[in-house]
Every structure is written in C-alpha cells, then in structure tokens.
Point group: C2
C-alpha cells in the first residue's frame, strides 16, 4: 500500500539498521485517517467475517476500525496475563513468546466470546516471527472457530511469520512488507496479494 | 444515552451488588456499532479538538473512533510503565493509582506527541475515582496542552472523579452514569449535559 510505504519511509525511525520505530503514526501516536485507509485496504479480500480478534495493546485500534468496515462485527481482544498461572475454567489460553523481550506470557480470551464455527479475521499492527498471531490462531482453534485470515498494518515477512501462517492454510494481508534496511532507508518487498 | 443504559441493564453483570462487568460489549468483546454511536454522542459538544488522549488498554477503541468523528485528529495513548523507575528525559510521567488493584504505577507519553497549546479531549471507557483521567490531565499540563474535556463511555459520578475534574474547570461527558445497584439491577443518575 503506497501511502503506508511512503509514510514509513518519511516518518519511520530506523535504529541500528535493524529496528523500525513507527510510534509517531502507528503505535503510540496514531494517525486515525491513515488508520482507516490501511484498514480499508486490509479488509478488502475478506467477506462474511463474524468477528475480529486481536491482542492488546496496539492491535486494538486496527481491529476496531477493520471490524466497523466489515459491517460492525464484534471485536475481541485477547488479554496478556500478568501471571504465569491462569485458571483455565473460563478462558482459552495460549503461550506467546515476546519477540522484543524474549519471555513467554499467556494470552487469554473468555470462553463466552469465541464460538465454534465463527469466521474470524485476526488483525494486528505488526507481524514478524508471528508468535502473537499464532497464539491467537491457537485460541480460535481451541474454540472451534475458523481463522479466515491474518491482516496486519506492517509485516516483516523475512522473519517467518507469514510463511508459518500460510503453511497452516491461513492467508496473510499486510499494508507494507518491510524486507530490510539499507543505511537507514527501509526496503520493501513487492506489494503482494494475500496468499 | 438511552441505548447504552439499556444495554448495560440487559448485558452488564452486577457482582456482589458492587461491581459492574461490561466485558461482553465494552472492554473485552466490543460491540463496534454501539461503540460508534457512543462516540458520536460523546464528541457532540466538543469542537476544534487537536488531539485525543487516552491510556492503554481499553480506552483505545473509544479514543480512535472519537478522534475519527472529530475530523481524523491524532490519538495518543499513554503507556503504563512496567517499571517504577522511568527515565524522564524523553517522556512526560504521571503516577496513577489503580482503583481495582490499589497500586501506584507511572503512565507516560513521549514528549514528541504532546505540544504546548494543543487542544486535547481525554477519552476513556470508564471514569470512577478519576485517577487515570487526572493522570492524563497532569501529562497534558506538563506539556502545556489545554484539556477541553473528558469523555467516557461509562462513569460512576458518585465515586468523585467527575467532581474533581469539574473543580479543575474541565467538563465531563459520559454515555451513562451509574449511580448504584439495587438487587442486581443498575440504577442510573439522570442523563446530564456536560458541566
């Protein structure tokens, strides 16, 4: 998506030729007009979605706007548990390894809010190794819900998340695919249809 | 706002005649159509807002939709710090006491994202004692930004947050004002104009 790529190029901050910060328009301050245009692009191939699922915190903005564009379907955001021990009576639980911090933490969704047969679109701001998305897929599988796709604002497909989801038969759609960095400049993979 | 009061009455869960759970439509699962109608009601008295400010997590959905209705202005969400010690070089910091957990934690906003003279609307899902909102007001004051009002989906004005904000000259707008509970039923204060 050209507008997002241009914005990443102009306002993204590349640190140590390795980390991309987009906190001025994606995940601390949010450009809400750009957000709507990204979500419009993301949801375009998806139809008959019953529910949008994301994980706190920075996925919520994208999930809500995507859900409204899909016909005001409900959003459910998985909660990051502060405790390693979670009572599984009332919640679905998956363990997610944090890419930035290296630790494993449980994420949970109340069993009342994911149902067998529901068609789910997973939405998030970022996809890299895919740990958060794979955790959300696991929660949906526990409930018997059907994951129709994963839609993210920015992915780094070279880090493997995209391929892992595809290997499970789940299509991935992203607004921009960051392929690497060259002397502080962001390189993008070719714009792709979901596959 | 009648629709929200009716929804709280039908789908809210009152625990021990004291706690109101609205996690089936406000802060775990989100009814995104209701969300837009609440936000439309909330922003109605506010004009010429430059920025919407909230705090993670469950305020983000309301902040983003309110900001779009105010003309696609930016949202900034304050981050809850995991550490008690925060480097204040690049962020504004306020200490917020958690109503539910009793502990004090810092919330922060990067100094790049709040500017002197900006007209800010604070948006959140809940207002009770007002600790989170007062923390956001403090961050805005540190930046020299002007708080034009606080808009929340649900408040419990009897717990004092509303009066504290009014005493600072800040108007409060809410979608529903929970006045108390009577044998599992929710009682609402009269619907009010912001004051």
């Amino acid at each position: 998506m050209q507008e997002l790529e241009e914005r990443i190029q102009s306002d993204g901050i590349v640190i140590d030729n390795e980390i991309l910060k987009v906190d001025s328009f994606i995940n601390h301050q949010i450009d809400t007009g750009l957000l709507r245009r990204i979500c419009t692009y993301l949801v375009e191939p998806f139809h008959s979605i019953d529910k949008v699922v994301t994980v706190e915190t920075s996925g919520i903005a994208f999930a809500v706007v995507a859900a409204q564009l899909l016909g005001d379907v409900p959003v459910v955001f998985a909660k990051k548990s502060k405790s390693k021990i979670v009572d599984a009576t009332n919640v679905y639980i998956a363990n997610v390894k944090s890419f930035t911090r290296g630790i494993v933490s449980p994420i949970t969704i109340d069993k009342r809010f994911l149902k067998k047969g529901e068609k789910v679109l997973i939405v998030d701001d970022f996809l890299a190794e895919g740990n958060a998305s794979l955790g959300l897929v696991e929660l949906c599988q526990q409930a018997g819900a059907q994951v129709e796709g994963v839609a993210v604002a920015v992915e780094k497909s070279f880090q493997g998340g995209h391929a892992k989801l595809n290997a499970m038969g789940i299509p991935v759609r992203s607004g921009a695919d960051v392929a690497g960095f060259d002397r502080g400049k962001v390189l993008f993979a070719d714009e792709k249809l979901p596959h």
